[in-house]
Amino acid sequence: MASKAFENVKMLPRIRNALSPASGTGQFYERSAKSIRLFKQGCTNRPFFQIVVMERRKPHYEPVIEQVGTYDPMPNKYNQIMVSFNYERIRHWIGHGAHISTPVLELLGLSGFYPIYPKTYMKAWRARATEAKKETVQESS
């Protein structure tokens, strides 16, 4: 936190550290553009994503400001994909004007937090179309 003496000086860019429980080590400017995005972890042939808040201009491998969820894209033995969101912190960062990347928007749409993202509908109808195509091919042959 900046000291009180500097609070009125809006022009100075202030470097800050996040202090929430899941905060990362990433330093950031208070008024810079933030982004909520996927951060790929895991290893070869085993992707795993953390959902993180970062400065938008920074590349994906830099230290993050805060981790706000996880996304495991590989289905478990019950055929379920596990996703977790820290909705409280996500709301906080959205309130501070954070941008949200498309994959995260899709997940948030599916979870019922946001309206369904248009891309998800596109995926759905394309999948249905290919299914229908397959069926017609099978019927004709």
Binding site: P21, A22, G69, P75, Y78, N79, Q80, I81, M82, V83, S84, F85, N86, Y87, E88, R89, L107, L110, S111, G112, I116, T120, Y121, K123, A124, W125, A127, R128, E131
Partner: protein, 364 residues
């Protein structure tokens, strides 16, 4: 393959709705009633020797200290508080009714994915039961997660120590049976408490099966002065099958507990019997404070060498009241009348003899 089939058959056997006794009404309001809680904790009996016995755990250490008399007294009192804490009973609740609600159904999303998505709220500081956990099915339906999924999600994101992620092997049929026959009741019940929530069907199945096994083999002593004794007594009183436990209590000279058990039976089954008088006598003879004082005096070697008497006059008088009360139960509600009456008569004879001896002692 054979192993797999075996496992499936055991699972199937579990999943069929319980063949064991279950609670039709909600037992929770009865169980949490203060009077019934008092009865249950009194029936459990507090035996410090048993609670702080050596166990097969890593931490069995003994430490030695120099203490003043005051410090020693405080230490003993604190240990008794610990013992009371260790006897806190796992609650008896109704089996939950798990019917996940549908939140929305978006047909346009049909076949958007081949898998279903489970979304868990991992906000800090929420209780697990308050977390929203929802599932988006491949057909576009958004609904609350079923209990199985919820429990798995809790264990993934907020793991409970020692609760295993998969079904523990000791609850597989053959292992479970073996442990029952070995009489490892406390071990099984402790594990069940850890693995399952008290409102799960499986918890109810396992516990009721263990209780019935104990009842059949009259092994009540193995649970006495553990946290499971109260729920067990509650189970028997609820299902009107206290006779074996009563028999055991009379045989082992827990007459006060027998009376309390009968009171519990009356209360749970709405029998209009007068229990206030006898309960006040029970409450008066409940002498935890004097027991603590006795132990302290023993440790400080302040106890004078007293006459070795089994029971004081007052205790003998109380016993007579208790016997009368138990007799009235046997006459009205008992299902194993001849057995219980025989035991009671034996007790009476012993009691009279004790009285005579004591009379002689005091006169002589």
């Amino acid at each position: 393959m054979e192993k797999y089939l075996k496992r499936i058959t055991t699972l199937a056997r579990y999943s069929t709705r319980s063949n064991f006794l279950s609670y039709e009404k909600d037992p929770a309001p009865h169980f949490f009633n203060t009077e019934i809680q008092k009865l249950l904790s009194s029936i459990t009996t507090l035996d410090v020797q048993k609670i702080f016995r050596k166990r097969t755990v890593n931490d069995n250490h003994v430490s030695y200290k120099f203490l003043t008399d005051k410090q020693l007294e405080d230490e003993v009192r604190n240990r008794f508080k610990d013992a009371e804490k260790a006897l806190q009973m796992p609650p008896v609740l109704k089996v939950m009714n798990d019917q996940p609600k549908t939140i929305s159904n978006d047909v346009a999303l049909t076949s958007f994915s081949k898998h279903s998505y489970v979304f868990t709220d991992v906000t800090f500081g929420l209780k697990n039961r308050d977390r929203s956990i929802v599932v988006r099915e491949p057909n576009g339906e958004l609904k609350e997660a079923s209990y199985d999924i919820k429990k798995r999600a809790w264990q993934i994101y907020f793991p409970l120590n020692d609760r295993s992620f998969r079904e523990p092997k000791i609850f597989e049929e053959e292992n479970f049976k073996r442990l029952l026959e070995e009489g490892q009741y406390q071990f099984l019940l402790d594990r069940a408490c850890l693995q399952y929530e008290p409102d799960e069907q499986k918890y109810h199945d396992i516990t009721s099966r263990i209780y019935l096994h104990i009842d059949e083999h009259l092994k009540f002593e193995s649970l006495r002065s553990t946290r499971h004794f109260g729920p067990m007594a509650f189970f028997f009183a609820w299902h009107k099958m206290i006779d074996n436990l009563l028999l055991d209590m009379i045989r082992n000279d827990y007459l006060k507990n027998a009376v309390e058990l009968i009171c519990l039976f009356y209360k749970l089954n709405n029998h209009n019997e007068k229990v206030e008088n006898i309960l006040t006598i029970c409450a008066k003879s409940d002498n935890l404070e004097s027991r603590i004082q006795n132990i302290i005096n023993d440790l400080l070697k302040k106890n004078q060498i007293v006459k070795q008497i089994d029971k004081t006059d007052e205790e003998l008088r109380n016993d007579e009241e208790y016997l009368e009360f138990i007799q009235s139960y046997i006459d009205k509600y008992c299902l194993k009348k001849p057995q219980l009456e025989l035991t009671l008569n034996t007790y009476r004879e012993w009691h009279n003899e004790l009285k005579n001896i004591q009379l002689k002692y005091t006169v002589g």
